[in-house]
């Protein structure tokens, strides 16, 4: 529908909309996050939900203690390898449609612990992430920005067509493999359906052989 015509009708007291707009408008303004935190990022997440930053303005103040009632998983903090299976299991238990915000350097890539042995190098190795927020930890404003980015993503989702979101595709997966504790590492150490090692053109030190292979 033409946007000008729509705003003209609005002035006359007539609201015109589509089912898709109404559906997405309702969903994007009632994103209920799952109530869990892993490290210092969780403190910023709590601050964002309290009166000063007031995530309630975006309809996302209802932190649910049960994954069955939550729409949004905010992975706030360092995901250790010991914790990773539980995070994936919580994600699997959430009902579709579900979204993930990867909050902070650790949840994105392992952050300062990337070279360590006990920290998962990014939660996106096991579950699909919708919005990444950099920072160590990100400020509450950054989390609210991520929430608004996610709202824009939801607003653009179409109910029909080949590019419709995952929860409207019957054969799309909604559960992902939960890693097992292995003798030396998590098994598998990544889920290739979700994540592949990025091919990045890096300068390899003094003998720059980037791009020559």
């Amino acid at each position: 529908m033409d946007e000008n015509l729509k705003s003209e009708l609005r002035k006359q007291g007539i609201v015109a909309t589509t089912l898709q707009e109404l559906y997405n408008w309702g969903r994007k303004n009632s994103l209920w996050p799952l109530n869990f935190g892993l490290a210092c990022c969780a403190i910023e997440m709590i601050a964002a939900s309290m009166a000063r930053y007031d995530m309630a303005r975006f309809g996302a103040e209802v932190f649910r203690p049960s994954p069955r009632q939550a729409d949004l998983m905010i992975v706030a903090g360092t995901v250790t390898k010991k914790m990773a299976p539980q995070v994936v299991r919580l994600y699997n238990q959430m009902a579709e449609p579900k979204y993930v915000i990867s909050m902070g350097a650790c949840a994105i890539s392992g952050g300062p612990f990337k070279q360590g042995y006990n920290v998962l190098k990014g939660i996106d190795r096991y579950i699909p992430v919708d919005v990444y927020i950099p920072g160590c930890p990100p400020r509450p404003e950054a989390l609210i920005d991520a929430l608004m980015a996610l709202q824009k993503i939801i607003d653009k989702q179409s109910l029909t067509g080949a590019d419709r979101p995952r929860h409207l595709q019957a054969d799309a997966p909604s559960e992902f493999v939960v890693p097992e504790f292995g003798a030396h590492d998590l098994e598998p150490s990544q889920n290739p359906e979700v994540w592949q090692p990025p091919l990045v053109n890096i300068s390899l030190g003094g003998t720059d052989d980037a791009g020559k292979h």
């Binding site: 390898k81 010991k82 990337k114 070279q115 360590g116 042995y117 006990n118 190098k121 504790f181 292995g182 003798a183 030396h184 590492d185 150490s189 990544q190 090692p197 990025p198 091919l199 990045v200 053109n201 890096i202 390899l204 030190g205 980037a210 791009g211 292979h213």
Partner: protein, 210 residues
């Protein structure tokens, strides 16, 4: 309350025990006492209970890994060279056995002194890694001894609940040992150098051309 005093007091009251003063040459001068594992519990109980030490508080327990070293020394050996006996220099290489060491930092709340530092060594790093637990003496050592068991692989005999504390139960390695090889879950690194650069090269060949 110098280490020398403590050593003589302990040796006077516990027959047969051996203490060795490990001096610390740094400005802090926190010298420590290496005790023999066979008498460790008796020594620890004495340090906790006896006047005038009364070391009632174990603030910290940690581990140190001392891997075995290869020592090469030049030895003069008499040998027959072309039918004539000559002195020939040979390089003889010997491999020392490594140790796992556990360090206890003790204080006295009652007397307000400390720290007194105790060290214990295992016999080697592979099989004979048993040490007596000092948790029955200082309860605060419980979790820290579990951590040393987890990360270094020291087995504490007499510990009430010796399980891994940081890594999961099925984990087999001891990550704080110097010869630990971490799992190869490496990916992109923006400022690769040294070992990381070497691994980046290996992964580049695995992942194929851009």
């Amino acid at each position: 309350m110098t280490p020398e005093n403590i050593k003589s007091e302990v040796e006077a009251s516990i027959p047969g025990c051996q203490l060795e003063i490990v001096s610390n040459p740094s400005p802090s001068g926190q010298h420590s006492l290496r005790i023999d594992p066979a008498h460790a519990v008796a020594i620890a109980t004495f340090l906790r209970d006896a006047e005038p030490l009364r070391l009632d508080y174990c603030s910290n327990v940690t581990g140190v890994d001392w891997p075995g070293k290869e020592i090469s020394e030049k030895v003069k050996v008499k040998k027959l060279v072309d039918g004539v006996e000559q002195e020939v220099e040979e390089i003889r290489k010997t491999q020392t056995i490594g140790h796992l060491e556990v360090v206890y930092h003790l204080f006295s709340m009652e007397k307000k002194h400390g720290p007194v530092i105790l060290r214990m060594r295992t016999e080697d790093r592979a099989e004979r890694v048993h040490l007596p637990s000092l948790t029955p003496v200082w309860r605060s050592a419980e979790f820290q001894e579990r951590e040393i068991f987890d990360l270094y692989g020291v087995i504490f005999d007499g510990h009430p609940d010796l399980r891994r504390i940081l890594m999961w139960d099925g984990f087999e390695d001891h990550p704080m040992r110097r010869d630990y090889v971490e799992p190869d879950d490496f990916e992109y690194e923006p400022t690769a150098h040294d070992e990381v650069l070497e691994r980046a090269r290996q992964h580049r060949t695995v992942m194929g051309p851009l």
